[in-house]
Amino acid sequence: MDITLTIPEEIFLLSIDAEGNQLENKEFDVVLASSILMELALQNRIDTDLDFVIPDQPTLTTNVMLDEILSVIHASEKKKSISHWIIYIYSQIDRVKKNIISGLVQKKVIRIENERLLFVFSSKKFPIIKQKEIIEVKLRVRELIFNNDIPELREIVLISLIHYGSIEFVLFTDEESQEYRERISQIAKMDMIGQVISRIMSEITMAIRAKVLLRIKSAEQRMDDLIEKFKLDNNVKSDVELPEWLKKGTVQYHKTLHFMDETGATKINYNAEDRTYLVLED
C-alpha cells in the first residue's frame, strides 16, 4: 500500500543518511519549521504573498500539530510575515520534530534506535525501514532538475527547502549542484516561503550568537515601529495615507522590508526622486 508523506516527513527522511544518522543543526531546524508552513500552503490552509502569510481554509488537516499551528495563524488578528511564522514554529521545534518522527514511525517508514556511546552519551538513530519511500522522493526531485519539465508544487517546495537550507548535498553531488545551479535556484525561488529561509537562518544564527533570541526584532517589527513613528511625526491617521514605501501590500513596501532586512536598520528614509533609501542614525 502506498504511504502518503507530508513535506516535513519527506524533508526529514532526506536528512537521514545510510547509517540512520539524522542531520541535526540549527539551520536544519529552520528548514523543518519552514516545511510546516509549506505543507499548510500545499493543503490550501494558508496562502502567502511576497511578505505575508494569509489564512486560507480553516478546515482541519489530519495532523494534530499542523492543526494547532493553523489555529494560531487563523486566530491572529493582524496578518503577519512569513518570517514571523517560521520563527514561531522554530520556537517549538523539539515538539515539531517529535511529531514528525512519530508520524514516520507510525507509518513504519523509520524506526528509532537508541545508541549508547562511552556509557555516557546516548544518541538516536533513525534507520529507514522503507527505502522505497525515500528513493521515490529522491528520484522525483532529481529527475525534475535534470529535465526541463514544468515542476509540480511538491517538487518546488522540496527544492526550495534544500536550496535555501543549504542542504543540496542530500540530493545532489557537488558536481550536479554546480552543473544544474541555475535550474535549481530558478525552481527554488518559486516558493515564497522558501525565499525567506536563508534570511531567517542568518537572523537566528546571529541571535543565538548574541543570546538574545527573545529580544531581537524582525525586519517586519522594525517596519511597524517605523510606520507608527511616521504616522505620529506626520499626523497621518490612516494607513491609506502612508507613502508607498511604508504602505503594506505594495511592491515598494516589499523593497523597504528587504532593505531593512539587509541593513538591520531601525530608522530609514526614502527619497522618491532618486529611489534610494537612507539609513538614519539611531
Binding site: 500552503a41 490550501n44 496562502d47 502567502t48 504573498d49 511576497l50 494569509i54 489564512p55 486560507d56 514544468i150 509540480e152 508544487l153 530558478q186 525552481i187 525561488k189 518559486m190 516558493d191 515564497m192 525565499q195 501590500g249 505594495t250 511592491v251 516589499h254
Partner: protein
C-alpha cells in the same frame, strides 16, 4: 473577482478583474479547469485589471499551464502591471510563462 471568458477561433481568452488572491483563486481554478476539460488547450489570460496576485493565484496558473502543455497547448499572459511583473520576476514564474504586453502579442505567442 470577475472572470470573463470569450471563445475565439482556436483559443479562449480569460479576462480576470480584481485580486487573484486567497478569496478568489478557487473560482479562477474552476473556470480555467472547465475550459481545459472541454478541450481548450490554448488560453490567453488578460491580467490588465488584476492588481494583486498571491501564491495561490500563481499556483493556479502553474497547474493550468501544466495541464495545457500535456495537451500540446499553451497559456499566454498579458497586461501585467508593474506590481504583477515584479511578483512574477521575484518568484521566477516569468521563466515558465509566455508573457506579452498586448493582446495581439499574446495571440501571436500562442500560435508561435
Amino acid at each position: 473577482m470577475e472572470v470573463i471568458d470569450k471563445k475565439e477561433d482556436g483559443f479562449v481568452v480569460f479576462e480576470l478583474r480584481g485580486r487573484l488572491d486567497t478569496a478568489h483563486y478557487l473560482e479562477v481554478e474552476k473556470r480555467l479547469n472547465e475550459a481545459v476539460v472541454k478541450g481548450n488547450s490554448r488560453i490567453i489570460v488578460d491580467l490588465t485589471s488584476v492588481d494583486y496576485i498571491s501564491s495561490s493565484g500563481l499556483r493556479v496558473l502553474l497547474l493550468i499551464l501544466k495541464k495545457v502543455k500535456e495537451l500540446d497547448g499553451n497559456i499566454v499572459l498579458f497586461g501585467l502591471n508593474e506590481n504583477l511583473k515584479e511578483v512574477f520576476e521575484i518568484s521566477g514564474f516569468n521563466k515558465f510563462f509566455s508573457i506579452s504586453d498586448s493582446y495581439d502579442g499574446a495571440k501571436a505567442a500562442l500560435f508561435s
